[in-house]
């Protein structure tokens, strides 16, 4: 049996290498967080990537795309290690990386040391990545964390009537960016953010954090993701928490809404904002959801793609379309490809996306509310669709620059 399967593997690898001779390959390195707190996010990101390949195919003219996947754990050094390995050992020519905020900043900086290669951001959303000293060969087709919060602050203040909120978030760049977007809009509308708690990525025991939440606020904003979010909700329920909740983009997402157990039910009615909404009726989105569902058996996917799947789909799509425009021409340090990537406008499932002069996406944002579909599955329902959200969130660039970079305490809660 063992011998037989070994023989089969040997035979199939022979066949594979046979096709390799016949066709020129373009090697693309992909990274995803397939370890640690964000494992589920990485897995679904890869599903989005696979869905894009199923829909668009791997052929670029007479060449064929070949993908090499490397795993990271959401820390910047793991991302740089993975990217370095892909470039030096696997000799990839193009990178589709990375997934998480801090990783993005590190990979952008690393990209500058390889100006001849092309980096397409897979899903990371820290503002700094493309806003501060951007790398000319780094392209991001998803919006950043602050853009993904556009609309939430106003909706919370005006429609929900929240006046005072507190935030709990993971202590790293993407969540800083998300809180940045929220605070800016909520405080401009007249709201107050009384308390911002930061917890290390990978916190398991939130009991003390929950105990320290203030009582005198109208709602609590949760900027958590992956295992952290599930642990928080579980312990929040055990502690008998009853406050109104608001959610960040990876908090209100199928990665959490489809988790096993009952903790997620605390989220029903939670308002959030993100680069997508599960129940959007746009035909392009519905087509993508269908393609995602058809690509994997029901037990191996979420009922509906997560934000990460959508981002990986979008970035893979942009790369393939741009490569096709230049017919896979990577000569002259990939100049033609970079040019095409900077100019391309894609019809992504979550709305049209084009890049600004920093090669950062301008796209569509969604305010959502979590609903139960009646059978126990949770989805994010569209409340409001906001097109053409740019990185400065509609502010004048000079004013925006004065606010400062997202951090634990920036921005202050005031009108800029």
């Amino acid at each position: 049996m063992l011998k037989g399967s070994l023989g089969l593997i040997a035979l199939s690898s022979l066949l594979l290498s046979g096709t390799a001779f016949a066709q020129e390959k373009i090697k693309v390195g992909v990274t995803a967080t397939l370890e640690g707190t964000y494992t589920v996010l990485g897995e679904d990101g890869m599903r989005g990537h696979q869905t894009a390949l199923n829909v668009l195919g791997k052929k670029i003219g007479d060449k064929e795309l070949e993908f090499v996947v490397a795993s990271t754990d959401a820390t910047p050094d793991s991302a740089v290690r993975a990217v370095r390995k892909l470039i030096e050992q696997d000799k990839v020519q193009i990178l589709l990386s990375p997934l998480s905020g801090d990783e993005g900043i590190a990979v952008k900086n690393f990209a500058k040391t390889h100006p001849e290669l092309t980096f397409v951001n897979a899903a990371s959303g820290a503002q700094e990545t493309t806003y501060v000293d951007p790398a000319p060969n780094f392209f991001r087709y998803n919006m950043d964390g602050a853009q993904w919060q556009v609309g939430l602050g106003k909706y919370a203040y005006e429609t929900k009537g929240y006046r005072k909120i507190a935030t709990v978030g993971e202590d790293y760049s993407f969540i800083y960016t998300q809180v940045f977007g929220l605070v800016l809009e909520f405080c401009a509308a007249g709201g107050q953010v009384t308390n911002r708690q930061w917890v290390p990525l990978g916190t398991k025991d939130f009991a003390s954090v929950i105990a320290a939440l203030p009582d005198d606020v109208d709602a609590i904003y949760l900027g958590l993701g992956g295992a952290d979010a599930v642990n928080f909700l579980n312990q929040y329920q055990q502690a008998g928490g009853k406050a109104h909740l608001m959610g960040g983009s990876i908090m209100i997402d199928q990665t959490i809404l489809s988790s096993k157990g009952s903790a997620k039910n605390a989220l029903v009615g939670t308002i959030a904002a993100s680069g997508q909404a599960d129940t959007w009726e746009d035909p392009n989105w519905q087509k993508f959801v269908k393609a995602y569902q058809d690509s994997f058996p029901e037990s191996k996917r979420f009922p509906s793609p997560s934000l990460l799947a959508t981002n990986y789909y979008g970035s893979t799509m942009a790369l393939i379309l741009a490569l096709r425009q230049v017919n896979g021409d990577l000569s002259n340090n990939q100049a033609k490809l970079k040019d095409a990537l900077a100019k391309i406008e894609i019809d992504a499932p979550n709305g049209k996306i084009k890049l600004d002069s920093n090669r950062q996406a301008i796209g569509t944002n969604f305010v959502t509310e979590v609903v139960d579909d009646g059978k126990g599955a949770l989805f994010s329902k569209v409340v409001k669709v906001i097109p053409n959200v740019n990185q400065t969130l509609g502010y004048d660039p000079a004013v925006f620059a004065k606010i400062g970079l997202p951090s634990r305490t920036v921005p202050e809660c005031k009108k800029y």
Partner: protein, 336 residues
């Protein structure tokens, strides 16, 4: 106790004062000045209780680890995998049968069996060869982690808390007095208290078994001198298998506990391996009371740290470990 006071009167005084201050902070109503300085009493009490209950979980994992190490000098670096495996088994059983209690029993038995197989198939073949054992167990932990990722995927699993354990209870600890003169008592999650009580019961039972029974006597004798014990005719290999099964089973139970008040996912195995390593280094390798003390210290450090110095919370536990290694490298309660 009396001897300790005679020998170190200064230290004894410091300890007594510290205990008195802590007791006052727990039971008294805080004056407004103190609340202004370090925050509300409710937050402090919660952090202390959380630290102690988290210590209960750490104790469950670390006690098995330290037991195995104490008797067999095996550094079982696959202990974290046993924890995670136990958690997954507990999840499967509790969703299948709906019984939380049953999930503990099945997890204990299943993981104990894995422990028996490990001892018979792996450790017995490389007795006394520390380096080989370490390498093999690291390898096994990677293989186990991938197997579990294959079967259960990267999803987060939570063992369903039974309905009667969900929600808070009121503890007879005052946190504040309202302006109307009405006392406010502390609300605390019931499930954490129950789990903590259970780990105390397990700890006491283990201590009694080790110190008051014949088998315990054999195990203790084995810790002191394996060769002489074997020479007296005790079937030492059988004792090894039993202890390994018990240690592994405890890790399995801890997995269900961890899955109930936290969650299970890939990566938890190494986290708990690291936690139990820190706990036994602080408490003393091979000592059950040491594991209990170390677990409570680490639990308290994590929780108080996450409230009062959130930025540096992560390093506090390691600082404690460094301190212990510098001052008392054998661990706080180790005998030698």
């Amino acid at each position: 106790m009396a001897r300790f006071i005679e020998r170190h009167p200064a230290w004894a005084l410091i300890v007594i004062i510290a205990v008195a201050v802590l007791a006052w902070m727990v039971f008294a109503i805080w004056p407004p000045g103190l609340e202004a300085a370090i925050g509300r009493k409710r937050v402090f009490l919660n952090a202390v209780l959380n630290g102690i209950t988290l210590g209960g979980l750490y104790f469950l994992v670390a006690s098995g680890f330290t037991l195995i190490f104490g008797l067999m000098r095996n550094v079982n670096l696959a202990h974290g995998s046993l924890y995670l495996f136990g958690g997954y088994i507990g999840y499967a059983v509790s969703t299948w049968t709906g019984s939380w209690i049953l999930s503990f029993i099945v997890a204990f038995i299943a993981v104990a069996l894995v422990g028996v197989i490990l001892q018979l198939a792996v450790f017995r073949r490389m007795e006394g060869q520390d380096l080989r054992q370490t390498m093999v167990t690291i390898g096994l932990s990677i293989v186990f982690a991938d197997l579990m990722l294959w079967v259960f995927g990267g999803d987060f699993y939570q063992v369903q808390t039974p309905a009667w354990l969900i929600g808070p209870v009121q503890l007879p600890l005052l946190t504040a007095i309202k302006s109307s003169g009405e006392p406010v008592y502390l609300q605390y999650p019931l499930v954490r208290l129950v789990i903590f009580l259970a780990s105390v019961v397990i700890g006491v039972a283990m201590w009694l078994a080790l110190n008051r029974t014949r088998i315990g006597m054999i195990v203790r004798a084995g810790v002191d001198d394996r060769d002489i014990l074997a020479a007296t005719g005790v079937r030492i290999q059988l004792v090894f298998v039993l202890v390994f099964a018990l240690g592994a089973g405890l890790a399995g139970i801890a997995g269900v506990v961890g899955g109930t008040f936290q969650s299970l996912s890939p990566g938890e195995d190494t986290r708990f391996l690291l936690a139990s390593l820190v706990v036994v280094i602080v408490g003393g390798m091979g000592s059950i009371p040491g594991a209990a003390l170390g677990a409570v210290i680490i639990g308290l450090a994590e929780q108080l740290g996450s409230v009062y110095i959130p930025t540096y919370a992560i390093v506090v536990t390691f600082l404690i470990m460094v301190l212990v290694l510098a001052v008392r490298p054998q661990g706080l309660l180790a005998r030698r």
